[in-house]
């Protein structure tokens, strides 16, 4: 077990290094002079020189990378040009909002997809199942920003139940209140994916002998499904969720921009618009590391829950 954990962690180190290299390369790959792009064409030569020095562009690339790497390890990415603050502080503040939004969305997605998937697995290839298939096609084909705008139009403008945009963090309930529409949008974006994977793992579990055994013992159907089948299927679904965290984050970036939520998604778009390269580098790395760590944790938790995994990989 321990050796599996160590091996899995070692495996992700080259990927982490490559992602760091990729994030660093952003500023190198910019055609022309990044300092000029950032300050515009009316910048004085003096201010350009200072910015180049500040970004380290006057030093050789290998040294620049080494400095970036050293900074990345301790979370120091220099100062954001856009926010006039340390990049790490800006990213940290925004990350909390995004994480809250993500958690809320996943909760909604599970809330929607659990009953749907259960019904459609139990009524396989009958009308509830076809209905799920069709409903998931609709939400899958919906651009999340369009869905978000529709929800804002209906629940925000017409009914006035929720704010059309913005975020209030005075206390947790007002934060959740302002995040409700964005979370529903992301939740509906994620739900078809979850519902489909949950459906197929439920079907797989329902065919196992222990289900017949439990039924044979006279357990109620609620107990068989809720207590045994659903629990086993959820493990696989959580893995699917964590493997698709990139898909989820992409949706979050868009939806944050629709509802003007001050999270990482709006931050990265602002950073690109303002050509704030240190911020872009830090965010690229942050997103990459978040995905790698999520996948790592999912793999490890899966191995803890299911001994077959760690035994199989030992071979």
């Amino acid at each position: 077990m321990f050796s599996y954990i160590v091996r899995r962690i070692i495996q992700s180190i080259p990927v982490l290094l490559l992602v760091t290299l990729g994030a660093f390369a952003v500023i190198i790959l910019v055609p022309g002079d990044p300092a000029q792009h950032m300050l515009g064409y009316n910048a004085t030569p003096e201010s350009l020189r200072i910015l180049r020095e500040q970004l380290g562009l006057d030093r050789p690339i290998s040294q620049q990378f080494w400095e970036f790497f050293q900074g990345a390890v301790v979370g120091d990415f220099g100062e954001s040009i856009l926010k006039k603050e340390a990049v790490s502080i800006v990213v940290g503040e925004r990350a909390i909002v995004s994480i809250l939004l993500l958690g809320y969305s996943v909760f909604i997605a599970l809330f929607v997809s659990l009953p749907i998937a259960t019904v459609s697995a139990l009524r396989r290839n009958r009308w509830p199942d076809h209905l799920l298939r069709f409903a998931s096609m609709i939400t899958f084909a919906m651009p999340s920003f369009w869905l978000g705008l529709l929800l804002a139009l209906w629940f925000g403008l017409h009914l006035g139940w929720f704010p059309v945009g913005g975020y209030s963090d005075s206390n947790i309930s007002s934060a959740l209140y302002t995040l409700t529409l964005p979370a529903i949008t992301i939740g509906l974006y994620l739900a078809p994916l979850l519902a489909r994977s949950l459906r197929s793992s439920l079907i797989e579990e329902l065919d196992r002998d222990y289900v017949d055994a439990a039924r044979g013992r006279g357990f109620t159907e609620t107990r068989v499904i809720g207590g045994h089948v659903l629990r086993n299927s959820l493990i696989a679904t959580v893995t699917v969720l964590s493997l698709n965290v990139g898909y989820l984050l992409s949706g979050t970036v868009i939806v944050e921009n629709v509802f003007a939520i001050p999270g990482l998604g709006t931050l990265i778009v602002d950073a690109v618009m303002q050509r704030d390269y240190p911020l872009i580098q830090a965010l690229t790395l942050f997103f990459g590391v978040a995905v790698i760590i999520t996948n790592l944790l999912a793999d490890l938790s899966y191995a803890v829950l299911d001994p077959r995994i760690r035994l199989e990989r030992k071979r």
Binding site: S12, P14, V15, L18, V19, G22, V26, L29, V30, P31, N125, H130, R133, S136, M137, I138, F140, A141, M142, P143, S144, F145, W146, L149, L150, A152, L153, L157, P192, L193, R196, S200, D209, D212, N244, V245, G246, Y247, L249, S250, V253, I254, N257, I268, V269, A271, V272, M273, R275, Y277, I280, L283, T284, F287, G288, V291, I292, N295
Partner: protein, 295 residues
């Protein structure tokens, strides 16, 4: 197992057979319905320059914010441009771009995945690490970063998606190849002394196509959503060029009193997406694959 346990196995068997043929009918229906939807919308998009009632950028300041009517089926926007005509041109552009950014990565990814799975060893390790790295960064974030490097526009979308999209197909092809590599007919081809490249491309790769093709249909929808999303953020296709994401973003400030600018083009988008999903679903059933929304 279940078969033997049931009281009346014959009727269960009959029912299963009837169910199976109903499934086949459903999957054929799904495929044809999808082809009809996609065919109809694509045909309209291809013929846009001839059938669009107004020009893509034809401004008419005397008829701004007209609700849908016979004169303007989907209404007009803040500059009096006909939304229906813009949607036709938008779908035309979207479909062209999406076909390129879906099928070029399919070819590259299948090639790399096939090599990785077939040869194993250090080639496999290198390609696998590259896949992991590319997939570690969320797709949209990567496209945004590419845009940050080379500036807003379609080029950023092309480079970004080409740089990432292959990884999904490579992962699919690699996994299939690991199985195919051990099949009898490959061993037989090896025994006959065929060259490695002949075995790889004439015998193994055609068998990789199925799962990649089925996934590519879902990928078309994913790429459509991505392209529209990037353009919605103002980083992809630039206004005044018509593109569905651009049109929807254009209508956002006027959502309350000109709802049609945003909602109706989105509806066309969803129809097109459903059409592709129906094709994918039907195709997957017929080829005995599972239609997955992601890899």
């Amino acid at each position: 197992m279940k078969y033997l346990l049931s009281h009346n196995s014959r009727s269960v068997g009959d029912r299963l057979i009837r169910r199976a043929s109903a499934d086949r009918r459903w999957s054929r229906f799904s495929l044809y319905l999808g082809l009809t939807i996609v065919g109809f919308i694509s045909l309209a998009a291809i013929l846009a320059p001839w059938i669009a009632p107004y020009g893509e950028r034809e401004i008419d300041l005397l008829s701004t914010f007209q609700p849908p009517s016979f004169k303007h089926i989907l209404g007009t926007d803040d500059m009096g441009r006909d939304v229906f005509s813009r949607v036709l041109y938008g779908v035309r552009l979207d479909l062209q771009v999406v076909l390129v950014i879906t099928y070029a990565p399919l070819l590259i990814g299948m090639f790399l995945g096939a090599i990785a799975g077939y040869f194993g060893g250090w080639i496999d390790t290198v390609i696998n690490r590259a896949i992991d790295t590319v997939m570690a960064i969320p797709f949209l974030v990567l496209v945004i970063v590419v845009v940050a490097i080379i500036g807003p526009g379609l080029e950023g979308v092309f480079i970004g998606v080409m740089g990432v999209g292959w990884a999904l197909y490579a992962r699919l092809a690699r996994a299939d190849m690991l199985v195919i590599r051990e099949e009898q007919y490959i061993l037989a081809a090896k025994g006959l002394g065929y060259s490695t490249w002949r075995i790889l491309f004439k015998h193994a790769v055609p068998n990789l196509l199925r799962s990649s093709l089925v996934f590519s249909v879902a990928d078309i929808v994913l790429n459509m959503v991505l392209l529209a999303g990037v353009s919605y953020l103002g980083l992809g296709v630039q206004p005044p060029t018509a593109e569905l994401g651009v049109i929807i973003a254009d209508g956002q400030p006027f959502l309350l009193y000109a709802w049609w600018i945003t909602t109706l083009p989105g509806l066309v988008f969803v129809f097109l997406g459903i059409g592709f999903s129906l094709i994918g679903d039907g195709l997957a059933d017929m080829l005995g694959e599972e239609f997955k929304l992601t890899v």
